[in-house]
C-alpha cells in the first residue's frame, strides 16, 4: 500500500482543521472495508487518512429521542442488525444491515461509511430511503440535515460539502402502522455486492414506498400514492402497470460484470412484487406500532 499520513482527531474541531488544511488530499476512514481496498489497489491515493472513529459526536450509539431513532455514523452493521429498536421500527434496515458482506465485514462496516461511499449497491440505502431518513452533516459552519433522497449523487459522490462529516443518521419513528422489508439478489451470499437491492414500505393509509439500488448511478425512491399496490383487491395487471412506472427510472449499467441490464430489470420486477407482498403481510400482521 502506498504510504500516507494518519490522523485521528479526538474532536470535531481537530477534524475540521485537518480537513481544511488537507483539502482533497484527505480521505475519511470509518470502518475501512471499502477504503482500505481502494488504498491498496491505488484507485484512491490520499496523503492523509482521517480516522473519524474517536470523534465523540460520531460514536456508535443508537438512541431514541424526540420521535426519532438516531444512529451514530460509526455504528457498525452488526449492531444495527441486532438492535431491538431498529428491528421493531425499521426492520428493512435491520435486514439490510444483516446482509452486508459476511460477519467480519459487518463487524467493521459502518452506516456512515456505507452511505458516504455512495455505492449504487449500498444495501442500507433503499431502507433509509423508504423510512425517510435524514443525514445529520456537520462542518465548521455548523450542522444541517440532508434528506437521504437528496444525499446520493452517483457512485462515490454525495451532496456533502467539502469539509463536512456525517455525524449521524436519523430515522423518524413511525406515526402509523407500517409493514416493510428489504430484499436483494446477489450472486453469492456473504461476499458479492447486490445485483439488485430493494426496500419496500407500506403504510396503513395505502401508500407504498419502494427504493432500489444497483440498477442505476444512485439508489432511488419511488412512491405509489394511488393505493393500487397496497390494495388486495386491485388486479394484477393494474399492480404491474404501477410497478413499471415506479421502476421507470432504473437504468442499470451495461458494463457491469455482476449482471446484465435485462437481468437486473427482470429481478427488480420480481423483487418488487415480492417485497410489496411481504410488506403487506407484515402490515396485516401488526406491523410496527404507531
Amino acid at each position: 500500500m502506498r504510504s500516507f499520513a494518519y490522523s485521528r482527531p479526538a474532536t470535531l474541531a481537530q477534524a475540521f482543521k485537518t480537513l481544511e488544511s488537507g483539502g482533497s488530499d484527505c480521505r475519511l476512514l470509518a470502518g475501512g472495508t471499502d477504503l482500505i481496498i481502494r488504498l491498496r489497489d491505488g484507485s484512491l491515493q490520499p496523503t492523509i487518512v482521517v480516522d473519524v472513529k474517536r470523534i465523540p459526536e460520531l460514536r456508535p450509539v443508537i438512541r431514541e429521542e424526540a420521535g426519532r431513532l438516531t444512529i451514530g455514523a460509526t455504528t457498525v452493521m452488526s449492531e444495527i442488525a441486532a438492535d431491538e429498536r431498529v428491528r421493531r421500527h425499521f426492520v428493512a434496515l435491520a435486514e439490510a444491515a444483516a446482509v452486508v458482506g459476511a460477519v467480519q465485514i459487518r463487524n467493521r462496516a459502518t452506516l456512515g461509511g456505507n452511505i458516504c461511499n455512495a455505492s449504487p449497491a449500498a444495501d442500507t440505502a433503499p431502507a433509509l430511503l423508504v423510512y425517510g431518513a435524514q443525514v445529520v452533516a456537520i462542518g465548521s459552519a455548523g450542522s444541517r440535515r440532508i434528506p437521504i433522497r437528496d444525499f446520493f449523487v452517483r457512485s462515490g459522490e454525495t451532496t456533502l460539502r467539502r469539509g463536512e462529516l456525517v455525524m449521524a443518521i436519523e430515522l423518524p419513528l413511525p406515526t402509523q402502522r407500517t409493514g416493510s422489508v428489504h430484499l436483494r439478489r446477489t450472486r453469492r451470499r456473504g461476499h458479492d455486492l447486490a445485483s439488485v437491492t430493494l426496500a419496500c414500505l407500506v403504510d396503513a393509509a395505502g401508500v407504498t414506498r419502494l427504493a432500489f439500488g444497483s440498477v442505476g448511478p444512485r439508489p432511488v425512491l419511488a412512491v405509489d400514492s394511488s393505493g393500487v399496490l397496497a390494495d388486495d383487491a386491485a388486479d394484477d395487471d393494474a399492480k404491474g402497470a404501477v410497478l413499471e412506472e415506479l421502476f421507470a427510472t432504473a437504468s442499470p449499467s451495461a458494463g457491469s460484470m455482476r449482471a446484465s441490464p435485462e437481468y437486473r430489470r427482470a429481478m427488480l420486477r420480481v423483487l418488487g412484487r415480492r417485497a410489496v407482498g411481504i410488506a403487506l403481510d407484515r402490515l396485516a400482521g401488526g406491523g410496527a406500532p404507531g
Binding site: 504510504s3 500516507f4 499520513a5 482500505i36 481496498i37 480516522d51 465485514i105 456473504g190
Partner: protein, 157 residues
C-alpha cells in the same frame, strides 16, 4: 518513514509498537509480531483467511489498519490453545477432518470459536451464516460444520 506508536494487547500480552500508517493489522501481526497464523490471501474481505478477533468481534485483519488497533484487545489463532492444549473447537476440527491443506483453517477456527462464544447452540443456518465469510478451497464445509455442531453438543465451547 513516519511511524505511529500504538499499544495493543495481543493474545493476552500487552505490546508497545511503532507501526507505519499504511500497514494493516495483518501486516503488523505477521511482520512485526511474527504471528503468521492469520493468512494473507484475497485482500478484499472475501476469503476470511486473515480473520482475527478484535475487542470481541471477528474482523478481516487485511481490511483494518494496524494503527486502528491502538488500545484494542486482539486474539489470533496463536492465542487459542494454552499450555499446549488445544481448545475444544480445535480438537473438533481434527476429529471431524475439517482440515485438508490448512491454509484457511486459522481463520475458520477463529470464526468458529467466535460463533460458539456468541451462541452456545447454533443452528445449521446460523453456522452457515456465521462461517459465510470464510472460504475453504478444499471444500471441507461439511466437516467444519460438523466440528462446530459436535463442540456445541458436547457443551465444550
Amino acid at each position: 518513514m513516519t511511524t505511529i506508536p500504538i499499544e495493543v494487547t495481543v493474545n493476552g500480552r500487552s505490546r508497545s509498537l511503532r507501526v507505519a500508517p499504511q500497514h494493516t493489522l495483518l501486516d503488523v501481526l505477521r511482520d512485526d509480531l511474527a504471528l503468521t497464523g492469520a493468512k494473507e490471501c484475497c485482500l478484499v474481505g472475501e476469503c476470511g483467511a486473515c480473520t482475527v478477533i478484535v475487542d470481541g468481534s471477528t474482523v478481516d485483519s487485511c481490511l483494518m489498519l494496524g494503527v486502528e488497533a491502538d488500545g484494542a484487545v486482539v486474539t489470533t489463532i496463536e492465542g487459542l490453545a494454552t499450555g499446549g492444549r488445544l481448545t475444544p473447537i480445535q480438537e473438533a476440527f481434527l476429529d471431524e477432518g475439517g482440515v485438508q491443506c490448512g491454509f484457511c483453517i486459522p481463520g475458520q477456527v477463529i470464526s468458529a470459536h467466535a460463533l460458539l462464544q456468541a451462541s452456545a447452540h447454533p443452528t445449521i443456518a446460523e453456522i452457515e451464516e456465521g462461517m459465510a465469510g470464510n472460504l475453504c478451497r478444499c471444500g471441507c464445509y461439511q466437516q467444519i460444520t460438523q466440528a462446530i455442531l459436535a463442540t456445541a453438543e458436547a457443551g465444550r465451547r
